[in-house]
């Protein structure tokens, strides 16, 4: 069960920090992008893993130039440090295609991945992921304000779409929800999502750091089973170690 893994690592590390491996390609010399990106990610893991519970590599930054062996090396390094690896993949295809993604995500050694609910197959994909030992985080309320018209203003039988998604997360046994920590999300939104999914699912909350989200608000409303993701503010820093330590401590103050 992903929840057990999460709680074990969170308590061992005394951290709810998830470091997003958002790698800006302009930094690299383009001799061999795959090698350079892998080295950069391994260096971030080396410097920050004392303070992090999880890492979240994003497919849009790494998948075009890291091959399967390089993804395995990255996940091995994350696991060697006792941390969790979540592929921010936003998978959202039909069943037969999702099966291919699940095969590769599992082969590459990730512990969990993010799923977009747009293709509607939350239950099917969660069941198939669990058969491969993979946890599933379903995009529920995103951190960017442009998402409001579809996620908050769409209604199904009087219920806003993001709460209907939370309901499917509950029913389908998905392991968690992705809920932005930015101003796009109110305390009331977080409480309603927690009520729908129950206490035994994990909130994964991006939007703190570069996007300006308030971690205190989201930690207090979502409760103990939570990961707060910080990407650019750590990864782009000249002192990644110190930044990660600061975020760990800041988040722990509010728990």
């Amino acid at each position: 069960m992903f929840l057990d893994l999460y709680q074990k690592v969170r308590d061992e590390k005394n951290s709810i920090l998830c470091v997003g491996l958002d790698v800006v390609m302009q930094k690299f010399l383009k001799r061999d992008m795959g090698v350079e990106i892998l080295e950069f990610c391994l260096d971030v893991v080396e410097k920050t893993s004392d303070y992090a519970c999880a890492y979240k590599p994003n497919s849009q930054f790494i998948l075009f130039d890291l091959n399967l062996n390089q993804l395995r090396k990255l996940n091995q390094a994350i696991h060697d440090k006792g941390c969790i690896s979540i592929l921010d993949h936003k998978l959202g295809d039909i069943g037969s295609t999702n099966l291919s993604a699940l095969h590769w995500i599992s082969e590459a050694g990730f512990d969990a991945f993010t799923l977009s609910p747009f293709a509607g197959n939350i239950l099917e994909t969660t069941a198939r992921a669990h058969r491969r030992g993979l946890g599933v985080f379903v995009l529920t309320l995103m951190s960017n304000p442009e998402s409001s018209w579809i996620q908050k203003e769409s209604m199904i039988g009087g219920v806003p779409l993001y709460l209907e998604i939370a309901q499917k997360v509950r029913e389908g046994g998905s392991d968690g929800v992705v809920v932005g920590a930015t101003d796009n999300t109110t305390t009331e939104d977080i409480r309603k999502i927690r009520e729908k999914i129950g206490e035994d699912r994990v909130f994964l909350c991006p939007g703190v750091g570069a996007q300006g989200g308030d971690p205190e608000k989201i930690i207090k409303a979502a409760g103990p089973n939570i990961l707060i993701n910080v990407s650019r503010t750590i990864v782009d820093s000249v002192n990644q170690q110190e930044k990660a330590k600061q975020f760990q401590e800041q988040f722990n103050k509010h728990r």
Copy 2:
């Protein structure tokens, strides 16, 4: 403009067939998956390009093990045959992350890609894609029946979500819509989408072949600017060339 490219290739090739490069990994020997997958895809292109307007590699099948140079080789082969290459990526992230994807999709030499509307940023992503010369197809009504609750039953001010998406495609200048050709989509759905997006956008319709969709229905209702995608029925066939030819002819009968 993507529309000009599409119309030129469609008329030169006398085909509205798009071949989906859905590569089933169990076929391969796993010596070097990237090399084997690339060879398989190049072979499909070689055998079917006389009958196809476009190819649609899907990220969930190819992105975990083809690197940038291999993606470039695939796109070069597709272009050498005078065809279009559309990455079925279902991109759906926040702006800064989508920029990374756009960079890589462009670097790899694709002509267009598919975008999921779930993150809400159709207008922003389309404008940014156009600056890089990339066409954008927005998922509007998918081919799998599990998608109905979110795409057809969600309403915004009395309008079903898929028609609100079609409206944003019109306003945002996106180049086309992805609309499943399966029973999930009615003739009336197709007509309403075409009315919203206008005649100058391209329908990309998966669901014919393995998923059992009726090409006649969708060609008649959507009009001339259309691509019908067939993946497994061609790619898994022992006679890919003959299958592609049959689909080209069948589709042309209904145009």
